[in-house]
Symmetry: C2
Subunit: 241 residues, 2 copies
DNA sequence: CGAACATTTCGATGCGCGTCGAAATCAAGC
DNA sequence: GCTTGATTTCGACGCGCATCGAAATGTTCG
């Protein structure tokens, strides 16, 4: 006789869905929140288009992905920000894969330093930036995330962010996201995305090819010091306090 | 040529570990934080002892379980509170399993109403209790969890909780835990465990046999109304605000 | 309409692994 | 020391499923 906790949610089904190397690679490739065509995902996961198609279908039916069809292209993206948060949470516990080559060491270091996560900034840079913004009293902690203070309201507008437009969106304004490499929270939500966008626009950061990683430009390094008192040497960050 | 994000943590390995029905059942059985012997876990998961042994070994080597040997018994428990939080996070997204029998409907309702989660209270009751405590200003939100206020300090001591002893522990005092059935946070950490213990000791709640679920006793129903202004009819909870 | 391309469907192959029976190991108690 | 019980190890079976080749479907463009 089998005694099973029937009434619990079906953990195993969800975990098994993520627990295939190819499907996990697809999810990771979509972690920055963009929508990518099926063929592209097949290439990134290192599998044939047929195989990827089957995986994408399973992920879609499992409510982990959403799909948007544009002509002959099928663009897949994470179904939900909750999916991104789950993947981050798992990455916090998951073992680091064995590092084989010096090139991989570099790639790992670059990724830990700064990357995009569902459109906002993560990694050491994302955590440090969030810390600096909190230091200055622009954000306060709240239940589900952060609250923009009056001082923050002024500052974000000066920074070129249309807070009213962001508040009008359905997605939460300022949410916490657990950083797997730093194991601390960083700023997510519409505001987090907007800040990352401004940093891209200003030429402070730039995407690394074929990766979620971003690198800090020289102008960005200067700006971090000027705007946030963040001293950044190569890949290490120190703040005044 | 395979393009893989080598530098990301090995999601797939972790997810595959959880993604087997038997192993997931084992993890769920341990979700209340207790340590159970291998044979017991085999029975709960509905598999033979040999099979369970293999699964337990894999979960142990994957750092999801810890084991304590006492004589001929091997007691397994979740390795970490982080593991419990991950399982809860997955349950928040995981699909509800198809309900077949009326008995399962009842079991599911009971479980959603109140259960233990790593030693503290979860479910509708856990969330409502946490809300009531916050309402009264005994807890404030903070970065990683809750902070006990001065008023809360007095109240918890009156309630029979030795806060100093709890603060001396390595585990955090008052932490947030996301509730999969209510999709809101409830109180976890040493304080959460202590409150649940007091509720058990006072005869307010009692464990349901072979389940993580707990039921509210008549005395408990009265106490919830008296101490927290929570009006509880059968399985529904309403608060004054 | 026909060629090129993206994606999916179908079918077949092969491997990984969950499963249990049998037996070994280890501890406890009479 | 022998029996009982808990757990693990070994070995073998069988199913599920990830994978790819071949071909079908759908779309864009000339």
């Amino acid at each position: 006789m089998r005694i099973r906790a029937h009434s619990d949610p079906d953990l195993a089904a969800l975990a098994a869905l993520i627990g295939d190397p190819s499907r996990a690679a697809i999810l990771v490739a979509l972690m920055d929140g963009r929508a990518l065509p099926a063929g592209d995902l097949a290439r990134r996961a290192g599998i044939s288009p047929q195989t990827a198609s089957a995986h994408l279908d399973r992920l879609f039916r499992g409510n982990l992905l959403a799909v948007e069809v544009q002509g002959r292209h099928h663009y897949y993206r994470l179904h939900d920000e909750r999916v991104a948060r789950l993947v981050e949470a798992m990455a916090t516990i998951a073992p680091a894969p064995p590092v084989r080559t010096p090139a991989q060491r570099d790639a790992a270091r670059t990724l830990r330093f700064a990357r995009t996560c569902y459109g906002h900034l993560a990694g050491a840079l994302g955590v440090a930036l969030t810390g600096a913004i909190r230091e200055r009293g622009y954000l306060n902690e709240a239940d589900a995330g952060f609250i923009v203070t009056a001082a923050g309201d002024r500052w974000f507008r000066d920074f070129g962010i249309d807070l009213d437009a962001l508040r009008g969106q359905r997605r939460p304004l300022a949410r916490r996201c657990l950083d797997w490499s730093e194991r601390r929270h960083h700023l997510a939500g519409a505001l987090g995305v907007a800040i990352a966008s401004r940093c891209f626009d200003n030429g402070w950061i730039a995407r690394v090819r074929d990766s979620r990683a971003v690198r800090l430009t020289d102008r960005g390094r200067e700006a971090m010091r000027r705007e946030f008192s963040l001293k950044i040497d190569n890949l290490s960050i120190s703040s005044p306090n």
